[in-house]
Amino acid sequence: MTTLQPPVAAEPRPAPPPAKRDRRSWTGWGFIGPFVAVFALVFLAPIAYSIYLSLFRDQLIGGNQFVGLDNYTRALQDEAFWSAVGRVALFLVIQVPIMLGIALLVALALDSGRLYGKSFFRITIFLPYAVPAVVATLMWGFMYGTKYGLVGDINSAFGVTLPDLLSPSWVLASIGNIVTWEFVGYNMLIFYSALRVVPTSLYEAAEIDGAGQWRIISAIKLPAIRGALVIATIFSIIGSFQLFNEPSILRPLALNSITTDFTPNYYTYSLSFNGQQHNYSATVAIIMGVITMIVAYVVQLRGMRKGA
């Protein structure tokens, strides 16, 4: 990291004002300018362009035509889109609480000081985060398989027939397991870091008042890390609504179970890159973005207000 030559922006440095309070100058822009410039290029411009695209339709005859909100009315009545939304919503409602629940329990266990080999547990459980989604999905995909995988081994060893985890009725749960495996350690680390900075004097006071461990957890620890819980929940919601990597990589192994409109993101991807329907794809992406932001915002409001 020392090899990079920082492009220090031209410093509009006015004569240093003698008054100490007067730090309100443009100097800060010299430092944040580069970030803002790239941010504008890769975040703001695509958002604007996407909104622009969603208002047009590419006709075979007549070329690009302004169609107003037609694409939006089409999307709102699009069954493929809504069934994809339903699928990720189901995923969200089941997978996210399981993942965050496990992460929280592990973080509390680590924080309790009652474990043997604490740092071993902490780093090992975190490790899957360093595994790319592609590799994680390939690994689990092979393991799910009846041919090479563990499921096949268990079947032949015990003479049982486990359900095919890549079949249409199981594949969403199988993906849920992959995502849980990938992110449980990451969320655990966020919770654990937040727990570490809770002032210990609170625990002592509570114990003197006769509070047990569970009471300390529910009355002190959980409220103290509420911010971390809310942030992790929001990131998980965004992640669920964006689900793409795992289903798309698993698809070659489960062609019958995973369709190209399996999730909203997969749907926009297919529309754009297989169907060349860029305008409609942009529309679907915008609607999904708006849904995500609304849900994230509601969760944030509720999470922050509760018991405050």
């Binding site: 790239v38 900075v197 971390a228 999904m288």
Partner: protein
Amino acid sequence: MSTTVTASPAKNTAPRLRTPRKKHSPGKPKRNVLLTVLMALMVLYTVVPLIWLVINSTKTQAGLADSNGLWFAHDFALWDNIRTTFTYHDGIFGRWLLNTLLYVVLGAGGATLLAVLGGYALAKFQFPGKRAIFAVVIGAVAVPATALAVPTFLMFSKMGLTDTPWAVIIPSLVSPFGLYLMWVFAAEAIPTELLEAARMDGASEVRTFFQVALPLLAPGIVTVLLFTTVATWNNYFLPLIMLKDPDWYPLTLGLSAWSSQAQTIGGDVIFNLVITGSLLTIIPLIAAFLFLQKYWQSGLAAGSVKE
């Protein structure tokens, strides 16, 4: 009597969070066997797939099919698999590895640099537009990155950037999470008086940043660098959209191409190479996390203070 040392990074200048940790109560909490066993189960869940990967990278394509997934086959083919992984298809795997390194050095390195500069500015300067920047950046985090992918692809395609490394590197340069982390970290780690003192002594802003601020930011920088590295190393969606030419693929895209080639008619089934390649892909990152543990964990802990 309790000798409590409250870990309060707000007071520590450089959050070296190896400080003696809180003790929960008068007397140490008892170690709990049951809790440890439950955690061991959790560890099992975590490592079984990784063990599976290691074991199966020692098998030939035939061995994969007819041996137990969690034990070795008759012949030990690991070295052979590694050699084949690097020589298959004119050594394209090595090329993918170099591409990934290129994307990480420029993408993650650049993202970290921008986040450090920006976080420092947000933490230590008052300037016009600061609140707007904050609002927009935080709002943008909620925008699904994949929702941006299609328009970004179309924009880049018009600029002639698709199918070049720039299409992967430029979007990787922005890490809102890195900016946030650096901002919180800089606010904690750099005492404003120290900056004032440097300025009083006539140091320029650039010099103050490099000589006073930067050393204090080191743990935060390692943390952000590690997380942006993971994001770039593991990136799949962006290169999938932007790149057609396999010569520019990163490892992730290459591996998934190898995996799905079994599905194409007449495609070579090379699951043994997919598995060995996967193992080779995760080793560098796991090693980085293990070796830099001390730094990134303290950086992360400081980042969560403000929540």
